[in-house]
């Protein structure tokens, strides 16, 4: 057999896994595609209703629907990368008989699929936004993009950790589920940290995801700022997550392959 260049092998594996994950995502029942793209609209609809009923008038200086769309897109991407990663080793066990498929390859492929789906959702939002004349002006596109890319890296690191732990205990999957629901309420998705009482702000800013979301919408809207975001805090979280999860993974890779 002709020896292949390691990087070419990696690309071939990624290509194969990506197409496979994508086709599985969209063939999971007839409603597979529908829910993937309908979920964010449903979330936005619910929270707009809540805001209208609870606070009666919309007095914000930015478009609340655009605000929700932006935050939910970012948070759902984070949530889906982590959740899909968690079950990835179990789901792809059969593939480890091919020695070029390393467990982490399946995590990279799943992350890429989620990023791809997020891309499609963003395009749908932009098209609808133009069609219905929403105000979608962006203050700083490059910082918003950086926020998204950074969040992908953070979610990937988080996903590795969850996936490795899940090999040893099935309860990790359940815990991640609860954890994500809690995070949705604690991550500045349908409010800005600024409007909250000071005691609450202090607590919520321990949550790294809140920093990411604040960073993204702080740079998107002219009416908002990133004054509460600590970029140092985000760097520390990302670096230590990457370090811990990759270290654990490298220690346990062989056990995961042959388990």
């Amino acid at each position: 057999m002709i020896k292949r260049d390691p990087f070419k092998i990696f690309l071939a594996v990624q290509g194969a896994l990506f197409l496979r994950e994508l086709s599985m995502r969209f063939s999971s029942g007839r409603m597979g595609i529908f829910w993937t793209f309908f979920e964010p609209f449903f979330q936005i609809f619910i929270f707009i209703l809540i805001k209208l009923f609870l606070f009666a008038s919309d007095d914000s200086t930015f478009d609340f629907a655009v605000f929700l769309a932006l935050n939910f897109t970012a948070f759902n991407m984070f949530k889906n990368i982590v959740i899909k990663s968690t079950a990835s080793f179990q789901a792809n066990k059969a593939l480890f008989v091919y020695k070029q498929v390393k467990p982490i390859d399946t995590l990279i492929a799943r992350t890429m699929v989620e990023v791809f789906i997020t891309g499609i959702i963003i395009v749908i939002f932009i098209v609808l936004g133009f069609y219905f004349n929403f105000d979608m002006t962006i203050k700083d596109l490059s910082m918003v993009t950086l926020g998204f890319i950074w969040l992908i890296v953070f979610a990937f690191a988080f996903g590795i950790l969850a996936a490795v732990l899940h090999v040893f205990s099935d309860s990790v999957g359940k815990l991640i589920g609860f954890f994500m629901t809690a995070l949705m309420f604690a991550s500045a998705i349908f409010y800005t940290i600024e409007i909250l009482p000071l005691e609450l702000q202090v607590w919520l800013m321990y949550n790294p995801v809140a920093h990411f979301i604040e960073m993204i919408h702080g740079h998107y809207f002219y009416a908002l700022t990133d004054s509460l975001v600590s970029y140092n805090y985000m760097v520390i979280w990302t670096m230590s997550m990457l370090y811990i999860s990759l270290w654990l993974y490298s220690k346990l890779e062989k056990r995961i392959v042959s388990s």
């Binding site: 057999m1 092998i9 071939a12 194969a16 496979r20 059969a94 020695k99 392959v257």
Partner: protein, 221 residues
């Protein structure tokens, strides 16, 4: 050449470590078709999986510059809710095949495995015989230095067994096999040399007949 350097492999049971290999060093020469013999539960399949680099020794190294196929066993390697066609495509992509090569391999596998309409049905609907026909056909389409075969030759009806044996004989003109089997006739027919696994040690026999004799002697104990 395949070289084992101080290889130890064990599994933990509740009471003790159960050794499959205990500090084994061994050189297996190239260009031989090798049969792996041993009683049930001695670790033949584990040794094969270690050679295929999907299972790893607890200590020591297994060194070889040769390429090994995935272990062809009765189960595994396929995704249940994908069709045979999608699975074949997927494996081809893993090995970096071009579009045209993929098309050729699909035609070959479809023809060889005799799955007909089932070729476009999810694999979870297959019987184990159908599965291994597919798996065997697919492995014949790649050029490895060694094919790892774990007792899959004994599936299917007489006609298919004959067909797959003929295909394998043709294939081993250009590559070698590592074969786990309990069927002495198959081993004699296909293999040149043998490895006998027993009590945490393995011994290499240049002539398969010597290997079989040793295995018989162990069985009489």
């Amino acid at each position: 050449m395949i070289e084992l350097r101080n290889v130890s492999k064990f599994f933990k049971t509740n009471q003790e470590k159960k050794y499959i290999l205990k500090d084994v060093s061994l050189k297996i020469p190239s260009n031989k078709n090798i049969g792996i013999l041993g009683r049930n539960g001695t670790g033949k399949s584990t040794i094969m999986r270690m050679l295929g680099q999907i299972e790893f020794p607890n200590r020591g190294n297994i060194i070889s510059t040769k390429s090994f196929s995935w272990p062809l066993a009765l189960s595994g390697g396929f995704i249940g809710n994908m069709t045979a066609r999608a699975n074949v495509k997927f494996v081809c992509r893993l090995y970096g095949k071009s579009k045209q090569e993929i098309q050729e391999i699909i035609e070959f596998v479809k023809d060889f495995s005799e799955l007909d309409d089932y070729f476009d049905m999810p694999i979870k609907t297959y019987s184990s015989g159908m599965r291994s026909r597919l798996s065997f056909g697919l492995s014949l389409s790649f050029d490895f230095d060694y094919l790892l075969i774990d007792e899959t030759l004994s599936v299917g009806d007489e006609r298919f067994k004959k067909k797959s044996k003929e295909a394998l004989m043709k294939k081993i003109e250009t590559c070698n096999v590592l074969l786990v089997s309990h069927d002495m006739n198959t081993l004699k027919e296909i293999c040149d040399s043998g490895i006998v696994v027993h009590n945490g040690n393995i011994s290499y026999f240049d002539d398969i007949n010597d290997g079989i004799a040793e295995y018989m002697a162990i069985n009489r104990q």
